[in-house]
Symmetry: C2
Subunit: 711 residues, 2 copies
Amino acid sequence: MSSNLQDFLSPNSIAIIGASKDPTKRGFRSIQTLLTETYPGQIFPINPKEKEILGLTCFPDLASVPHRIDLALVCTPAHTLPGVLNHCGEKGVKGAVILAGGFGEAGEEGQKLERETVEVARQYGLRLVGPNTSGIFNTHKSLNLVGFSDLRKGSLGILTQSGNMALSLVTEGFHNGHVGFSTYIGVGNEADIQFHEYLEYFGDDEHTQAVIAYVEGLKQGKAFLETARRVTQKKPVVLYKSGRTAAGQHAAKSHTGALAGDYAVSRDLMRQAGITVANQSDELLALAETLALLPTPASNRVAVLADGGGYATIAADALTERGLQLPVLSDETQQKLKAILPPAAALANPVDVAGGTDSNPEVFADCARAILQDENVDALLIIGLFGGYKLRFSATLEALENQTAARLGNLIDEFGKPVILQSLYAPLRPEALVILRQAGVPLHHSIETAVQCMTALTDYGHAKRRNQARLESGTASALPASREILATCHQEQRSSLLEHEAKELLKAYGISIPPYVLARTPEDLAQAGQQLGDVPLAMKVVSKDILHKSDAGGVKLNIRGEAGMKAAFAEILANSRAYAPDADIQGMLVAPMAEKGVEIIIGVTRDPQFGPIMMFGLGGIFVEVLKDVVFRALPLSPADAEEMLDEIKAKAILAGVRGASPADRRAIIDLMLRLSRICLAHPEIAEVDLNPVIVYPKGLAILDARMILAD
Amino acid sequence: MSSNLQDFLSPNSIAIIGASKDPTKRGFRSIQTLLTETYPGQIFPINPKEKEILGLTCFPDLASVPHRIDLALVCTPAHTLPGVLNHCGEKGVKGAVILAGGFGEAGEEGQKLERETVEVARQYGLRLVGPNTSGIFNTHKSLNLVGFSDLRKGSLGILTQSGNMALSLVTEGFHNGHVGFSTYIGVGNEADIQFHEYLEYFGDDEHTQAVIAYVEGLKQGKAFLETARRVTQKKPVVLYKSGRTAAGQHAAKSHTGALAGDYAVSRDLMRQAGITVANQSDELLALAETLALLPTPASNRVAVLADGGGYATIAADALTERGLQLPVLSDETQQKLKAILPPAAALANPVDVAGGTDSNPEVFADCARAILQDENVDALLIIGLFGGYKLRFSATLEALENQTAARLGNLIDEFGKPVILQSLYAPLRPEALVILRQAGVPLHHSIETAVQCMTALTDYGHAKRRNQARLESGTASALPASREILATCHQEQRSSLLEHEAKELLKAYGISIPPYVLARTPEDLAQAGQQLGDVPLAMKVVSKDILHKSDAGGVKLNIRGEAGMKAAFAEILANSRAYAPDADIQGMLVAPMAEKGVEIIIGVTRDPQFGPIMMFGLGGIFVEVLKDVVFRALPLSPADAEEMLDEIKAKAILAGVRGASPADRRAIIDLMLRLSRICLAHPEIAEVDLNPVIVYPKGLAILDARMILAD
């Protein structure tokens, strides 16, 4: 039975293995920090050569310690680890933080040592942080095992694959004067405890209101997404994914050797799981703080309250560009504002007070109250000079400004709507802004950052509502008909389904497929013609050995009549034999040519990090040239499918362009959901490609279906 | 003869008209500020009711002042202005800064007053800043007529349509501790002096190294672009354009009433003119400072030097995503780095020192020197902890860190290559970073901001080189053949050219047009068939009254043989008469069907702000749905045309997809340049639409040409 992370990440006793009297060593500095920051638990330095370190009794080994030990900080070099962990295990230590490098990141030798180390730990149910970690901290336990100075206690958790990222966040939080942290985990090599296990821990940690994560790559992406889906129902997770480009992946590899993967895939899947994916690393702290403090808005209708037309314009642009709405305020609200603002004020939204607060900043709170009362408004963004009235206009305004700050904080509770404030005076930290922040209003220096936070808050609220619906189980049951098809492939040791098999499998799950006939010989063509009618036909070669039919000259279009069919049969056969002389050709698939419509592609692959994922895009150049595609992890929910259709850049084409009727969204979504079920029921299907699928105002036609089997 | 702006923006004497003893009034506070900040020129308060203000003699009127006056600060209300300016004119005042609102922004009455006011000023050659301006400052003259406190003297000019934007910049500059300003102009209503005139002033101002501009809309966009093209050859202009969205434009209108226009057009045209267009308002100061300090790089090959793998990864991603290159460092450079860095260091680029600087930050300067020596490297970005070694590791590192800072600054001069530094300790302003900044190295807190600045610097260098080429004169001469065609249209009082006229006009300028025949009657068709050969033909109605030929059923495709042509002629005629019974139908244009190729659209319109502009995009949904188009102002240079082809998102299609050969870029560019010449030679052509143009691996075919004439 392994320990819970809680048991040792909030430890009552710590052993420092490799404790030292050398002030440059971690074995000294960690003890020093624990003492300085008055860690309330017991500290046991371990070093056979010392009797006492910094006034604490030093023990020769763990066995000699007359007390239970929750956590060991291991400061000794890599090669000592298996031995050290044996001692830890025998002592009943619950967790160990291993600082040393020279493991999985350091070639074959190191990888072997890492495996050995983990094996020892597993024998005892001992859990490992690292190796190759910068350490951990837990401010609510006064436990600082990483040695950051200026560490401010608070509610943001940090979970990162780069120790320096934590240093950046802690330093920024210290400097901005109001953000504090709960627990930090530098995951190091994740030899034992995986990223998602830490995330689970943060989800349960009462001191953590929001989690900041820095990820280069994930070894267990699927488990991570599942955990994130649960945790984000409880608290926000703000994540920066690096290694997005080839250059970045190269840099990431020389850093930890983690899997990087395709950024577009990670980003889409993480958002699906409810994670707030930061586009820039410098937004992490602002996003996490805002999401930790505020209620999520009911929808995306934002009001702007500004003391300056330039600010109002910038904010309105930035909100609109990010997809938020600026509703016109109700007549009633505008009347209320008119009564308290000068004639030059703009009242509709954005509201510009036009100097109406210069002599009395309290008017801000009056305006904010009127705006938040408006039913058209879900959230309020206040921008401009607030906090600096004292500095800019008159010292006599100080008291009024401070009162206003407190009132603005109260409005959030009163209306349950979020309020974000941007002030150009934020870096100067005037008292009014300190009060404002203490009253629970997030505070930003940049208009764009404030807007980005408002957007993230709106998105987070949306994602939470979307993910509240129970997700279909990941183990849909397979149907007899589909099992049979796959069993045949298995018997025949094929790595893919023939096109008609794939289509029959889809049919088994209630997916409609346009009529087709498998003509094994030219003699079958006459009957095929009768079955399909006198319409233009398409003919395609059927062979397990020819996957790319067009390349092989294995496709003919617009065929008419029996003579045409026979000629096409012969031509395709000849082409295919020329292309692949040994190909096992089963015949030809004959089907009516499809009417024109909107071409789409739906595919499923098994991602090495994230498991089965679905891709959606429009056909042709949209996928190939513009890469205008979206991804979701399976199982897919109806809301996921809806969003996929809305997230492609060329979505206007689905809605109908140049007078065309809209494509049948219901039919696309139904197909996606059934395909999700199929792929969950049949883990042996490694890849599916429905390409092209032609969508009509009513219904759709799957023209080609390809299924590849797992090895 | 009007005054030069220099004469009064750097004045030796000022009159304060409406001087006051009331400390809340601008007429008092401006004098107080001039005295406090020891303005070296003479100050003349003007107020008939006072004898003395703040120890200065107060004059009853301007005429009584026994001295020349360069500048008048007018603090009196709007209605007094015509009278006040008469007095200024008679006194020979060169410029007046008018604070009062209630002019052009305040309805019809105000507009009338504004016109009167300007008329009075023009009689005397007196120039006006405003009205409705927050004021101006010139720190190099200790002239602060806007009352910003904490104003730091320096080299950045501010030119803005929002006074609050200047307040934001000045406050940010004060807080970040190293950025200072030269001159600020709040342009107000631009009743007299226009935005581009101020820009010209900044271009000539020896104290200004870079200009920050905030623009909502421009009244004289064309003059602004022309000025910007010249000024950016001398110094960078960093501009934020607001009013980008409908919501923003609405906000902007309630602010100043300036023209907003289409953001994509403004942005493209401003970039063409060499302006650095900031995407976010919060980047303005960082961009301007960086561009003011550094030499521009020869090309876009950037090296990253980081003390942390996480930082290196983020920077590599951010640079790559913005189109910069991370070249692999030469073997020689890597050998040099290897000799001074620990074994775990990454040497290729990004370089991660992997702890190699922890005990000696000077290693940074050694690494930087080795990297800058590399011929593959145009610029260096240093990211991570520098400046904080003293804080993070040991106080004993202070001297070394300070020396390193100075050395890094020297490297810029030595190699003529830019160096930008990002440090997580930037906001704490440790001494090393103060030294670094004094040594001329721009300093950023955010990795993304540092990367954005590097990108802007690279783009600015590119734009300067591009724009150095002499621009073709805007007054190309018209050819007799084209004049004749346009004269016919004029005589016939037509507002557009017939398709064959437009094509003949293009031909006159050496643009090749696929063969066509104008068949005025069905009897002409036989000869048309002979001329064009036995190929599939297209037929289109020719009528000045039918602009949208397809809508009118006026187009038939894939016509074969004389009988087919006759049938098509009759059908189109019938359709057209049904569509527009009174249409004057001149006949049919018959032309061979075009081969398939890449469809593009080239258009020219006359923008109300910017004059003639060209649009380029791929045909069909690329323009209509994806809005994947680029714009340039005319005259177009060959480099402009090249960039237009490279800037569309779907540019891969021009390069050839799915095995297609590349489209003929030379032919497209040649067409664009000739079209530019045509539109400059013929200002009477208001709009041109070449749509579609089919581009082949060799050559192109203009299938339709539409030209609309100006009223």
